[in-house]
Amino acid sequence: MATITYDNASCIYEGSDKLAVDSLNLNIEDGEFVVLVGPSGSGKSTALRMLAGLEDIDEGNIYIGGKDMRGVPSKDRDIAMVFQNYALYPNKTVAENMGFALKLRGVPAAERRKKVEEAAKILDLTQFLDRKPAKLSGGQRQRVAMGRAIVREPQVFCMDEPLSNLDAKLRVQTRTQIAALQRRLGTTTVYVTHDQVEAMTMGDRVAVLRNGELQQFASPNELYDRPINAFVAGFIGSPAMNLVTRPITSDGVQLGEHATMELERDQMTKLHELGLKEVTIGIRPEQLEIHDAGKVEVVVDLVEDLGSEAYVYTHAGSGVELVARTNPRTAPKLAETVRLRKHPDGVVHLFHPETGARIG
């Protein structure tokens, strides 16, 4: 078990003039579960592979347990990794797959078997120990890959989208299992995913990356409640936060002809101080409600009924689309004109219209 520090770590791929990972700084506590999340090409996998020693650290440094990792080969880093495609050894049985690292370390066969059997029991793999990976289902293979990692009791777990090859139901199930297992073992874990739901539900802290740059590194709640910029705001949460860039009026933001989103007084003051003509506002669908006193007149385009809740897709004026959550029993009809307002407990986030940085 160990802390991990990314100190201005950068990686550039040969033949590319852009950094795949650009001066990444992260301090990961001992035993913490950290999720790296971002769209494809954000550098999240590269950042993980740098930690595992599979990509060079071209600039800056990475420390594991305070130890300098530059020039240390993968095999000496004491890291276990779970790959997206599991990378199980096809010619070895489940037991041999799980015990390979111990065998390489010279652990005697009897002890090896004991450890493998323990891990197999945790992961419900006992009856498959003598099978080859080809004879296993996707979920079982995933568990073998997990087993291979935990048998070693390494300093760090690296997981590179380990759930993306499972079907939706199994993914949700395995998600909680992995999180619970990690809590139990207390091994520092870095987990890469493009799925923000996984990031929110699994991580102690989540690092959001975009184009190789770290956007925000915070707890899931913090990311959700106080996104540092418009990108994080739009990326975290499903359905995504409503984000629109519109002109500022005397008491709020003009969304359409009969649609004004009112802002708090101190928010207005801040906007005036900055002297902006336009602002990007963000409001989460569950913080918008249909209410006759609302000042945002919109037309309903689509109602998505999920049973327990419904999402109403609407537009106000030209090009301004807003999604609001509502009770499915009282959801409006298509093409109906309704009024929206910010929920009394809701927050309207303000972002700079050009830089996207949080204003308030």
């Binding site: 993968s74 095999k75 276990a80 990794m81 790959f83 990378a87 390979f100 390489l104 291979r148």
Partner: protein, 295 residues
């Protein structure tokens, strides 16, 4: 007389009609015209080889009769006669040159292909092209300089000259062939092994080699066939001592042209090792040629 030429291709062709057991589960239709065509073509290819083997066991009197004899008293006399005329040396030379050159090719070619496929660098494509380019110059164009070089280093009529040349001749083919097998291996496996604490050598031996062993078998067989069949280098650079089987056979045709049974016995002996090698490698070969099932 021409029976000596299809020796290497005939076994493969002969096996194709008997291959259907794999498809046996498919419900048999009443009559499949393509199946019939396949059988006819297959038998057509196989018959000369079959006749050659049959003739090898005949007495010289029975070998060339106007009504061909199918029933006769089999004898090993002609094989003995061929041995008396010195086929032993030629066989040993061929076996030696083939085995040693194939071994060298695998020792050099497998690591090279491994590096070129799983650890590519900037000049990998150039290296691959270089390997291929050595095959572009016809051997005839190089034989005079080769003869001079071999003669100057004193290896004329020495089997080691052929070992070196066969190794050089098969190496590019082996590298290209092995590379295609290595490319099928997911790179993540090597990464996983490395994170598990394996050195490159250990990862290669324990994880990668077992996966590509069918490919190695297929490559080895190709090298064996090419080295065994090679005639031009052998006829140009050897005389008596280092004579190989193909050279011996050609000399035999000239000298014993009318003795059909003896000739067939010699040709059968020439074909046998390659057929055996193919038969031994059969299981691996099938897997080697349908490699995708690895993942």
């Amino acid at each position: 007389m021409s029976t000596s030429i299809p020796q290497a291709t005939a076994p493969a062709a002969a096996e194709s009609p008997s291959a259907p057991p794999v498809k046996a589960k498919v419900k048999r239709r009443k009559f499949d015209p393509w199946g019939a065509v396949a059988w006819i073509v297959g038998l057509g290819f196989f018959f000369p080889v079959f006749w050659m083997v049959l003739t090898a066991f005949k007495q010289e009197v029975d070998a060339y009769t106007t009504t061909p004899k199918v029933i006769f008293a089999p004898t090993l006399d002609e094989f003995r006669a061929v041995f008396d005329q010195g086929v032993g040396t030629a066989l040993l030379n061929s076996l030696f040159a083939t085995a040693v050159s194939t071994l060298l090719v695998l020792l050099l070619g497998v690591p090279a292909a491994f590096a070129l496929s799983l650890r590519p660098v900037r000049k990998t494509q150039d290296a691959l092209f270089f390997f291929m380019s050595t095959k572009m110059l016809p051997v005839v164009a190089a034989i005079i300089p080769l003869y001079v070089i071999v003669s100057n280093i004193g290896l004329l009529d020495n089997i080691w000259a052929l070992v070196i040349l066969y190794t050089a001749m098969n190496l590019p083919i082996a590298v290209w062939m092995m590379r295609s097998f290595f490319l099928e291996v997911p790179g993540e496996l090597l990464e996983a092994a490395s994170l598990d604490g394996a050195s490159t050598w250990r990862a290669m031996r324990e994880v990668i080699l077992p996966l590509v062993s069918p490919g190695i078998a297929a490559t080895a067989l190709i090298c064996v066939i090419f080295a065994w069949n090679e005639f031009f280098f052998a006829v140009s650079l050897t005389a008596v001592q280092a004579q190989t089987m193909p050279v011996f056979l050609v000399g035999f045709i000239a000298g014993q042209g009318l003795y059909w049974a003896k000739l067939c016995a010699a040709a059968t002996m020439a074909a046998l090792p390659v057929v055996l090698a193919g038969w031994i490698a059969q299981n691996k070969l099938v897997r080697g040629l349908s490699f995708g099932a690895i993942k």
